[in-house]
């Protein structure tokens, strides 16, 4: 089994999830509480990775982070000559974009499900919007936030098209577990492919089983969400 690839995938998935939790929360907050007028546009943009072929997304990301793009140029200055495409950080950027809807949608759903009156009650008690969000909305939306994190993690573990486009296939740098399986099949090494696939299947199943068991317990504590 390609332990190096598995390790890389785990690292990528954990970092992607962490970044998404930080980036996704304000977006989900905005989607929940902003006026209706322009919301549909942001919703559509956030949901785009769900329907766009990974190769298309990967292609645009590749262009966007290339050395001649503004993002690539800034990165180059910051890291004194570093390149984003075909590197782990570049892969991370692509993964974050690719899994964005998987974090934002469950989160926004959970935020919206928090009784509006609780939020208003907090405002009337003199607590600011931000503090209300942190102290009332987030704790009550924990199940949705956990779901978002788990889905992003699992989704990143299995991503293929985007990785291939943006990261290529560099062992130890960008060769994730799904690419490793593809390589093994290409090389007619079915035994190795079967082992790695089984590992991924078992991991995905355990993560999902854990999520569902965990959520039941959370819901038992906080019945309103």
């Amino acid at each position: 089994m390609d332990w190096q690839a598995i390790g890389l995938s785990l690292r990528l998935a954990i970092l992607t999830t962490a970044i998404l939790l930080i980036v996704g929360m304000p977006i989900a907050y905005w989607l929940t509480y902003s006026p209706r007028r322009w919301r549909f546009l942001v919703e559509a943009v956030v949901a785009l990775p769900l329907v766009l072929p990974p190769t298309v997304l990967g292609f645009y990301v590749l262009l966007a982070i290339g050395p001649r793009s503004p993002v690539g140029a800034i990165y180059r200055v910051l890291t004194s000559g570093g390149l984003l495409p075909f590197s782990f950080p570049g892969l991370l950027v692509a993964s974050v974009l690719y899994s964005l809807p998987f974090t934002v949608q469950p989160m926004a759903g959970a935020f919206a499900a928090v009784d509006r009156k609780l939020v208003e009650a907090s405002w009337c008690l003199g607590v600011s919007r931000l503090a209300t969000f942190r102290r009332i909305v987030v704790p009550l939306a924990v199940p949705g936030i956990v779901t978002g994190a788990i889905l992003s993690f699992a989704h990143t573990m299995g991503e293929f098209g985007v990785v291939l486009m943006v990261g290529g296939n560099i062992a130890g740098v960008t060769r994730t577990v799904s690419i490793s399986i593809y390589d093994q099949v290409q090389a007619l090494d079915y035994t190795a492919a079967a082992e790695t696939s089984l590992f991924l299947l078992a991991l995905s199943f355990s993560v999902l089983a854990l999520t569902y068991s965990l959520q039941r317990r959370i819901w038992a504590v906080w019945p309103t969400s």
Partner: protein
């Protein structure tokens, strides 16, 4: 600046109702104001406009020397800065926080929170989560939480409606006492006449989104400004009165120019007198003396037959509605304009504190 709440604002709701509320509350006299009106008249919306949870289309709201909203100057103060304590109909306690944490959330420091908890007898409930509390306990926590934030104005949206009826009766008086003790001007939304009478000093009547009358509660009940107000406060024997004497377990209460005797329930001063229309018996002038304590001479003002019953309005110094069987009305030859005695047993007169 005047010590008053002046509101004149308009808002059109998606339902088509246009709330057009113009009224002034003198806060030194209107300690507890009842915002009264039928369901769907915009009471809750008006409360939300005052709290800043809803934005008027136009108009202004002035509280003491603070402008809360002014569409011409583009002022709209956030709810956080208005500092109104808002008590929601279902109390909106934070479900993931214990009773203590709910109150600490509002209080400036934990010591203050403890004071509020002991004042509302909540200390023993302190580690419990809201969902394990009874309706009455939740109401106490919500009120303590609202007061712990030291609001300038309390807004209560049907605070007793989520409770079962015996609890409601008990908590009504408790609530009135707490509100008066706190000294914070309060506005209570209700559509229940008796609740209005029992809780308020001042009353604003909202019908179809428009404030038709605002003034001292007796005045509104006694002199409704127009037909709509009269209909909505519809005095079916809920009358303002005053205890003027008591002897041997009976209390004498003056209603208008008439005195009624009733069972002494320990009330003093101003009360509301409630008599069910079914408990009023009618007798022709010649009837012999009965065991009933109250025999009120009056004249029949109107008589309406409703199936097997007849609804008779008698003017005996104050309007008194009686419901008798249509058959009795026929046997007694009751006709509008006839003199009649209205007979009410002392045990049928219920007093509520005001």
């Amino acid at each position: 600046m005047a010590n008053e709440l002046a509101c004149a604002c308009r808002k059109r709701l998606p339902s088509g109702l246009a709330v057009d509320a113009a009224f002034r509350l003198p806060l030194d006299r209107a300690t507890v104001t009842v915002l009264f009106g039928p369901s769907g008249s915009g009471k809750t919306t008006l409360l939300r406009l005052l709290a800043g949870l809803e934005r008027p289309d136009e108009g202004c709201v002035q509280f003491r020397d603070q402008t809360w909203f002014d569409s011409t100057r583009g002022v709209s103060l956030a709810p956080q800065l208005r500092r109104t304590g808002f008590l929601f109909q279902e109390y909106a306690l934070f479900p993931h926080l214990t009773v203590r944490r709910n109150i600490e959330y509002a209080a400036r420091d934990p010591r203050k929170a403890s004071e509020w908890m002991s004042r509302f007898d909540l200390t023993w409930l302190s580690p419990r989560l809201p969902r394990s509390l009874s309706g009455g306990e939740q109401q106490r926590v919500a009120l303590a939480r609202a007061l712990a934030a030291e609001p300038a104005l309390l807004l209560l949206d049907e605070p007793l409606s989520a409770l079962d009826s015996p609890t409601r009766g008990r908590l009504r008086q408790e609530l009135r006492r707490e509100l008066v003790e706190s000294g914070i001007p309060s506005i209570i939304v209700t559509h229940d006449r008796i609740e209005a009478m029992a809780l308020g000093d001042w009353m604003a009547v909202l019908i179809g989104g428009v404030v038709h009358q605002a003034g001292p509660i007796d005045e509104v009940f006694r002199h409704p400004a127009n037909v709509q107000v009269a209909e909505s406060v519809g005095v079916e024997n809920v009358l303002p009165g005053e205890i003027v004497g008591r002897a041997e377990g009976l209390a004498t209460v003056r209603v208008g120019g008439t005195r009624l005797e009733c069972v002494d329930s320990g009330e003093t001063g101003a009360v509301c007198v409630c008599i069910r229309a079914e408990d009023v018996t009618l007798a022709p002038g010649s009837a012999a003396v009965s065991s009933a304590r109250n025999r009120l001479a009056g004249r029949i003002r109107s008589l309406v037959r409703e199936g097997p019953l007849a609804r008779v309005e008698v003017d005996c110094g104050f309007p008194l509605v009686a419901v008798v069987t249509a058959q009795s009305a026929g046997d007694l030859h009751l006709n509008p304009g006839d003199p009649v005695y209205a007979v009410v047993k002392a045990t049928s007169v219920h007093l509520l504190p005001r």
